[in-house]
Amino acid sequence: MSILELKSEIEGKAEEEASRILQEAKVEAERMISEANARAESLKDERTKALIRELETEGRAELAIARMNKKGELLRVKSEWANRVFEESGKRIGQIAEKGTAEYRELLGKLVLEGIAKIKGNEFIVEANSRDVELIRKELRTIMETAAKIKNEKVEVRTRAFGAASLGGVVVTTKDMAQYYNNTLEARLSVARQNLGGEVYKILFKGGE
């Protein structure tokens, strides 16, 4: 081998080695970038899914709260209507009592007798507003006769006007004041509100929303 050939071989091998090193580096660089791209894609996919889950949970909660608030509003509207019914009923009952018609006088008698029937004893005081006391006094004999039949004994009933204003109706107490039965129209309206509320809702809303 001549000196020229030797020099050429050295140069060639060096070039070959340098090319191999650079080629390997390029392959390694491409692999790193490719892996980074794949990792970024995978991370993005993973994070996107997590974010979508998070946002959907948030969205569902927000909508549930909005729906709940609206349902509350709906209930308030219903309640307001029911309140209006009872307010109007109170006014009408007051007007009926104010007129003092035969039907109302009959009702007063029944309210007294209901009170007497509900509590024990045979001596009672019936309290009412002064207008109703007058009406009751006119029917007192009949009331006492009917009360005696209910109690199976002689019944004594006295009347007394109470100071406080009242729509009408009566409070029946035993003579010793140990028992009483509030049968004023206000008390009856209050009981009606508790007992008839459900039916009032049905009438008002006909089982709809």
Binding site: N37, L51, E88, F205
Partner: protein, 110 residues
Amino acid sequence: MIRILSIEIRELQEVIEQEKAAEERVRRAKEEAQEIVKRAREKAESIVQALESDPYKEKLRQAKREETARKKAEIEEEFKRKIQILDKTAEESFEKAVEYVVKGTLSAET
């Protein structure tokens, strides 16, 4: 004889020089290779880091906000209709309900 030896030494020196140049060539190639790998590593890091500043998250949030707002508006409309129907039904039945309460309140047991 001296001349022949002199020629051989010169040639040997040339080979050594060639050898040194070859080593230098390989050393530069290694340096260049290291630089290529370093740049690739930096680029790979920047690809992953770019995710953090990618606006896709904000776009998703915005899309979801808009969807939720649209659904809330639908709920608003749905209940507005329901309340209108409720008011109408209650208004029509109001008188009947009042009569029922008045009758119920004024009906004594005896």
